[in-house]
């Protein structure tokens, strides 16, 4: 093993580690659960390690890892069939009916809303809106056209706004306690 090989190996591990928190957040977004997400990340690390020769040093390690994780996620889903998550479903219904009671969005509510999006829309809005990928990179990761990613992101935004009852003023609305008082004041 030459010194150069060792450098390449070290760089590979370093870049892999650097990408892990982001990769893990993507896994949580896809699976909706930490335990499943971590299993998925573990499978991805092992796949990436076994295939490190196929990674071209100096290219986009993050996009490469995200592609592996995404492929792994969908192939596992196809094998197992999607498991029904009762609690999430119930929660989604409950908050979707009364979002305006809460002047601001609770993070937990947001996560549940995210879970109700179709998979293709959820991954698109996560990749572009949170993971920090350009539309082009997201398209490569998902194996589709840039225009497709753009339209999925747009539909995801619209759907989240509907689900969460966000029309802008939500951000500046009253606290839940104040909202109850206000609601009484207006005789509802």
């Amino acid at each position: 093993m030459t010194i150069k090989d060792e450098d390449v190996d070290r760089a590979f591990k370093r870049d892999l580690l650097a990408a892990l928190p982001n990769l893990r957040a993507f896994a949580v977004s896809l699976t909706g659960r930490h335990d499943k997400a971590d299993d998925l990340v573990q499978d991805t690390i092992m796949k990436a390690w076994a295939n490190q020769k196929s990674f071209t040093a100096g290219t986009n390690m993050r996009a490469w890892l995200f592609t592996i994780l995404r492929n792994e996620f969908y192939s596992q889903m196809r094998k197992r069939g999607r498991e029904v998550q009762d609690t999430d479903g119930l929660f989604s219904e409950r908050f979707a009916v009364h979002p305006e009671q809460y002047g601001r969005l609770d993070l937990q509510d947001f996560r549940k809303a995210l879970d109700t999006l179709p998979d293709d829309q959820r991954e698109a809005i996560i990749l572009v809106g949170a993971a920090g990928f350009a539309y082009e990179e997201a398209a490569t990761i998902c194996g589709c056209a840039v225009g497709t990613i753009k339209s999925r992101v747009s539909r995801a935004r619209t759907r989240l706004q509907e689900l969460l009852g966000v029309s802008g003023e939500g951000d500046f609305g009253p606290d839940p306690g104040d909202a109850a008082i206000t609601a009484r004041a207006f005789g509802s």
């Binding site: 971590d38 809106g129 949170a130 993971a131 706004q161 609305g173 206000t182």
Partner: protein
Amino acid sequence: MSDDETRKKDKMTSLHSNNPRPGAMQPNASISRKLREFYDAVQEEGIPDRFLELLERLEEAEKNAKSVKMK
């Protein structure tokens, strides 16, 4: 949303209408912010030990495999 609820919401928000409300103009802004908040919360958890240990093991296994090959 029913008309009644819409009116109620309008009344409620009118209490806060003294200040300019940029969010009202950009409904996407709050979705985007929430998305990043959710995502960042997971990122900030850092790297669980199991992954560090896994990488150690993979590295160790690779070294061993290579030294066997060299012999």
